[in-house]
Every structure is written in C-alpha cells, then in structure tokens.
C-alpha cells in the first residue's frame, strides 16, 4: 500500500464511450483513493453502470484512459485484470450448477491457487454463511439475501484490493437489504478494500459511501462527500434529485 501512496486505486480520465449515436460517457473523470468507498448514482441511462464496467475492461473506450492502481485497463490483458478485481451484480450471477463453495472458489481457482477451497471456506464464514451448513448447497437452495452474500464472498475470495458492485442489494426486500448493507459496511471496513458501488438508491449511497458521484446524461454532475451532500444538496439538478428521493 505504501509504495502506491498518492496513486488512486481507480482513475478514469476524460473517458468517452459512445453506443452508435448515443454518448453514454462524455469526458468523465473520476479518482477513487485506496480504501475509499465511492457510490455512483443517477437516473436510469445516466451512464453509471457503463462507467463501472470500464474499470474491469468490460467496456472498450472511445477515448480517455482508465487505470486500476498502476495498471492501464486498456493495455493490460483484460482477463488478468478481471481476476485481480471483485465483482458483484444485482441478481448475483452465481453459476447455477455449481455448489456455493465452488462458486466462491471461482477466482482463486481461475488464478490457479492451490488453496482455493480453503479460501472459499474462510470467506464464507466472513459473510455469515458457515461452510458446513452452506458450502455444499446449490444457489437455488438459498434465499435471495443468502445468494447475494455468496456473490459478495465470491468477489472477496481472492483478496482483491478493489471490488466493483453493480446494484448488489437492488433486488432484495427492505429488511434483508438493510441487514446486508450493515454486514457489508462492517466487512469492507475491516478488510480496507476499495469499493466502487453503483446504486439507484440515494439512501444506500449516503449510508455506505465516503463520497458520492452523481451522473447525468453521461457526465459527472457533482462529486462530494456524503456528509456534505446530506447537509447541502444545493439548488440545481442534484438538489432536485435528492429532494425527489426524500433524502434531503
């Protein structure tokens, strides 16, 4: 960590991405410091998921640069880059015919690590799903909340420095979601991992993130610390958005 002091964990600079006539990202610049949790919020189609997916090379840029630590996301081998990051999406995306343990061991196994199963066991413990009770089950034998815990465990099993989360709690009922948010908060705090979180839920963003970036039609409208935003969302687009959501 010390060797990289001053280097952002995630750094997008002047990123442009077009889909045909639509400009999904327009000159976007964002830095995320090591250990920081940044939330990307905005309305549907604002470009938040596209921006997230630039960091694991799932989206190819039209121009600009994306760096993960000291690595260039455009130049590096995308498969190797992805195996160094964690990733969770809304509906878990667990492999349905694999057991929970094998799902969690996925990335360590892809990286050829001999102790993949051991890692899976210990990280399952961390997310509150002890291996002896849950490791041998299949995803469809779990509840929605348990599946998202497994997906989170899978994203952490190889000890990544950065995890990318795309609406990880979006499909859950309110009680399960709040349980999971609390567990997540504890966990990333303990592990000191850098988090980039896409969410449509402004409360969730304020609760979990150190800073919030608001996107609007492919541009970053405002980036601010959660506390500042809560105190003063302002009068413009962001303020209107927050008032509409009843957060401010």
């Amino acid at each position: 960590m010390n060797a990289r002091a001053g280097v952002p964990a995630l750094h997008a600079e002047g990123v442009v991405k077009r889909y045909g006539p639509v400009t999904a990202l327009d000159q976007v610049t964002l830095r995320v410091a090591p250990g920081e949790c940044v939330a990307l919020v905005g309305e549907s189609g604002s470009g938040k998921t596209t921006l997230l997916r630039c960091f694991n090379a799932m989206v190819s840029l039209d121009s600009g640069s994306v760096r993960v630590g000291d690595r260039d996301a455009r130049a590096d081998d995308p498969v190797a880059l992805r195996r160094s990051l964690g990733y969770v999406q809304q509906d878990g995306g667990l492999v349905p015919h694999w057991t929970v343990r094998r799902n969690v061991a996925l990335v360590p196994w892809l990286r050829g690590e001999a102790d993949a199963d051991e890692r899976a066991r210990s990280v399952l413990e961390l997310v509150g799903l002890p291996d002896d009770a849950f490791g041998g089950r299949y995803p469809r034998e779990l509840s929605g909340g348990q599946r998202q815990r497994v997906a989170l465990a899978r994203a952490l099993a190889h000890g990544p420095e950065v995890i990318l989360l795309d609406e990880p709690f979006g499909a859950l009922d309110a009680i399960t979601r709040s349980d999971l948010q609390r567990a997540f908060s504890d966990l990333v705090g303990r592990l000191g991992v850098t988090v980039l979180l896409v969410t449509h839920d402004l409360r969730e963003a304020m609760l979990l993130a150190d800073r919030v970036a608001v996107l609007r039609e492919g541009r970053i409208e405002r980036v601010a610390a959660s506390d500042d935003l809560r105190r003063d969302p302002g009068d413009g687009y962001v303020g209107a958005l927050f008032r509409r959501a009843g957060v401010a």
Binding site: Y87, G93, V95, P96, H97, V107, Y138, R140
Partner: protein
C-alpha cells in the same frame, strides 16, 4: 459411454452384413460364387417376376441375393447401372419412354428390338427375350360411372374428364407415356388429380374417393373388384412387354445365369400373369410361394423352391405371426438401429460443433439454421432418389439422407441452448475473469446439455420413423415389411414392420430421456 457403444455398433454392423443373404464366407469368393443380385420395383407383379428370376437361378444352383422394392424406375435402373443389382424385371415401353426418352413404335417387336439395341450400345445392359405378356396401362372406372356416363373408350373418358377426380401413381402423373401423353393424344384433362400408390388405388376407386385410376392390364385387382377397363381407341399406350433387364457385369461374366433367366422367356402369357398377380394381390399369398408354384407348373423347378419359400404361418393370431417371424424382425430391427445410430452420430458430430460456432457469429446463425431447416422440407423419397447416382443404393445413401434430416433439431437446440444459458451467470463469470473457452466449457455447455440432448432425442425419433423409407433404396430395416406389405395390401406384414418400429421409437425416446436427465447438471431444476 465409449466402452458400451462400440461393441453395440460392431454387433449391428455384423448383423447388418448378414441381412438377407448367406453369411459371408471368410475369403473373397470367386466370381462364379458371387450371388446374383435380383432387384424389383414396388408392385406385386415386379415382386412375382423377381421371385421367378431368383428361384430359377437357385434351381440351377446359382446363389441369389434379393433386393426387392427399389422404388420407381429411376431408382431400379440407376441401381442396375451402378452394379448394385444384376437383374430386374422391366417393360419395353418404360425402357423407351422413361429411360431412353424416345417415342415408342406401335409394334411390339419393333419396340423390343429398339430397346435391345439402344441399351446394349449405350450401357452394355442386356434385355433378355420377352417373358410373353404385355402389361400396359389400363384406365379403369367404376361400372356405375361407365354406365351412367356411357364410357367405353378413352375418347369417351376425355369428354367427361373435367368432371372427374383421377387417382394416379406418382410416376404416371409425370411420365410422357402417362398423363402428359394422354393430354396430348386425347385431350384428357381430369378435374382433379390425386397421387395414389398402387396398393390403395382400387380401394379408393371402389369407395368413390376417386372416379378413374390408372392400372395395369395384368392387375389381379381388376377381376376382383369388377371395375371397367376403357379401350385405348387411338392406340396411345406403347407396347409394354415384360423382360429381364440384365446388368453389364452379369451379361458379360455369367453366361450360365443368363441362360437360366432366359428359360423363362415366352412362357408367361397375360392370363397366367394375371392369375399369379391375383393370388398375391387378392388372396394375399406370398410372392415367393406363388412364384415357386408357377415354376413347378411350368416344369422348370421341383418342390424345392416351394419348400424354401413356404410363407409365414397365418393360422394363429397376429402375435403368433409376429413371433414366427421374430428372427427376421430382429435382423430388420438391428439393421434399422444401425441406420439410425450411424446417421445420428454423424449428425451430432456436425450439428453440435456447428451450433457452437454459430453462437459466436450470431448474425449468420438464423440464416444457416433456416437453410438447414429447408432440408427438412425435401420429401424423403426425393432426397433418397437424388443420392442414388452418387452413392448407389443400400446403406450409404440411406444413412446420408437420415444424417441430413437429423441436423436441424440438433443444430437449433445447440445454438439456442448455448445462447440462452443463464445470461446473468455468464456475464458475472466473464466479469470475474473466465475466458470465452472456460465459459463455454464450464458454464454454457453444461447448462445447455439437456437442451442439446433434447434435440438429439427429437432427431433420433424422427430418424427411427424416416428410416422405414430406407427400404425403398434397398437399405433394409423395418421398412422392408412395411413397403412389401403396402404393395401386397397385407396388413399383418405392414404391422410386422410398423409395430416394432413404433416400439423402437418409444425405446429410443425413453433411453434418450434418461440420458437427458443424466446430463442435466445438478442444482438446476
């Protein structure tokens, strides 16, 4: 899997080789020992004549391999040219019109001399002297129709034809000496023309489904149903003298076989032939038995042929009949299964990789799958006929046709199975660093396996059904008794092929259902 399949295949291949002939001797036999292959077309008279050829050869100590029911003229003649068969019964008029494409002379002798010269110089194929009877076309109507409309001749028929429905054989409808020629000669234009097989034609006429049919002047059914034959008052139908048509190799190398076949020349007149046909078509006697009786009556053979040809016991129930033929049915079933397994394995080896490849280039996928689907619409008989010039007759063209039919369901299921396999799981696994190959190997293929297997299952059941048509090109299988039974209007014979084929389809379907379950990954509903 591999360990169990190979011996099964080997067993089938051995069983297949033994089908319908003597067990193969260990060393290649000298030319004279090679069995003479006797073919026939698909109608009762052709069967009887084929049996007469076969039994006179056997009576002279020459081994015979029978290849009955070779479809229409084109199939039988192509098989003769290709050396797949050595001899089959043909008619001079057919030789002139359907094969040479020439207008026939009205005189019987001139017609025979013309085909003899033309076939010898063009293909080295030899017409033996005619058997003695003519089997020309006969247009028949119900007596009631004839009386109420005052029909005696084809000229009379032409005047009322637009009000009538005709039931004609598929080849009669298309041949110059059939319907097109009648149009030119008589202006005969039926209001509606249905394509009917010989086996059901007379019944359709008598029951009023159609009003006029094409028959043959030696049909036993004419007498049975008392239908009225109209006179060919303009002498349109060409001479149709029956004779043995002998392939080049037999003609050149086997004078003793040619001599034996020639013994029949001139001995069969039309009443004799009609009587033999009646026994087969109306009484349901086995053509082999009828032929044996005829040879004995002609003084050409002793009782040996009859003993060999003794038909299956029909005194008991249908189940007794089936049981008495179990050895034959088992051999046909094994041959049938061989056709299905060979074609299906080849189909899997092509359709599954192609389906996976198409998933990578989805733009082209729909076009390719649709093109393969068009194959499905080619009528099986047409597809089989196309293959004879290239692949001859027998197992090769049958397996090729079945292979082509099996592709579509397997290709479609492979493509959509892999394309639709759990998109969220695929997206996540890719984002976590699986390569495309790993995604295919560990996620998409296992999830698609039951869908692919369902495609294999569909193809297998279709193939079990379609393989019955392989009998038309001499590939054997359970289609043999079905085709022969249809020709002879013999329901038991039809069922002795159809019932095992249906049972086979159920067993194959059940077996593959188990396989489908076995390849379904755990944890997936």
């Amino acid at each position: 899997m591999r360990r169990t399949v190979l011996p099964v295949l080997a067993g089938l291949a051995l069983g297949g080789a033994a089908h319908g002939q003597e067990p193969a001797p260990p060393a290649p036999p000298p030319a004279a020992e090679r069995p003479v292959v006797v073919g026939t077309k698909i109608f009762a008279e052709s069967y009887v004549l084929g049996e007469l050829f076969a039994q006179i050869l056997e009576a002279r100590g020459i081994p015979v391999d029978r290849r009955p029911a070779l479809g229409a003229t084109e199939i039988a003649f192509q098989a003769l040219l290709a050396g797949e068969i050595d001899v089959y019964p043909e008619y001079t008029g057919t030789g002139l019109l359907a094969i040479l494409g020439e207008a026939p002379p009205a005189d019987r002798g001139a017609a025979f001399r013309r085909v003899r010269e033309a076939f010898r110089s063009r293909w080295g194929v030899r017409w033996l002297p005619p058997l003695g009877f003519e089997n020309t076309y006969a247009m028949a109507v119900r007596p009631g129709t004839a009386d109420s409309l005052g029909l005696r001749t084809l000229s009379d028929l032409a005047e009322v034809a637009p009000r009538l429905t005709a039931g004609f054989s598929p080849d009669f409808i298309g041949r110059d000496d059939g319907l097109p020629g009648l149009r030119d000669a008589y202006g005969l234009e039926p209001g509606d023309v249905r394509s009917l097989l010989q086996a059901v034609k007379y019944q359709a006429l008598v029951q009023g489904e159609v009003d006029v049919i094409d028959g043959y002047s030696t049909d036993g059914q004419i007498a049975r149903y008392g239908v009225r034959v109209l006179a060919d008052d303009r002498g349109f139908f060409p001479p149709y003298d029956a004779a043995a048509l002998v392939g080049r190799r037999l003609a050149d190398e086997r004078p003793e076989a040619v001599a034996a076949l020639t013994e029949l020349s001139g001995l069969l007149d039309a009443p004799t032939m009609r009587e033999l046909n009646r026994r087969v078509e109306v009484d349901g006697d086995d053509p082999a038995v009828v032929a044996a009786d005829a040879l004995r009556a002609l003084g050409l053979a002793d009782d040996g042929g009859r003993a060999r040809a003794a038909g299956r016991d029909r005194s008991g129930s249908f189940l007794d009949y089936l049981w008495s033929g179990r050895a034959e049915t088992w051999a046909q079933t094994r041959r049938h299964l061989l056709l299905v397994i060979l074609s299906l394995s080849a189909g899997v080896m092509v359709a599954v990789p192609l389906g996976l490849a198409l998933e990578r280039v989805r733009g082209a996928a729909e076009g390719v799958i649709r093109a393969v689907g068009v194959l499905q619409t080619v009528p099986s008989i047409a597809l089989l006929a196309f293959m004879i010039p290239v692949l001859g007759i027998g197992v090769a063209p049958a397996v090729t046709a079945l292979f082509l039919y099996s592709l579509f369901p397997m290709l479609r299921n492979t493509y959509s199975g892999v394309r639709d396999a759990d998109p969220a799981a695929v997206a996540s696994a890719r984002a976590l660093g699986m390569t495309e190959w790993q995604l295919l190997r560990y996620v998409r293929l296992p999830l698609a396996a039951p869908v692919i297997m369902a495609g294999v299952r569909t193809a297998a059941v279709i193939n079990v059904g379609t393989a019955t048509l392989a009998a038309f090109i001499g590939a054997g299988g359970l289609g043999d008794p079905i085709v022969a039974g249809l020709t002879l209007s013999d329901t038991w014979m039809i069922l002795s092929g159809a019932v095992p084929a249906a049972v086979l389809a159920l067993i194959v379907d059940g077996g593959l259902a188990v396989a489908e379950k076995a390849v379904s990954p755990r944890g997936v509903a």
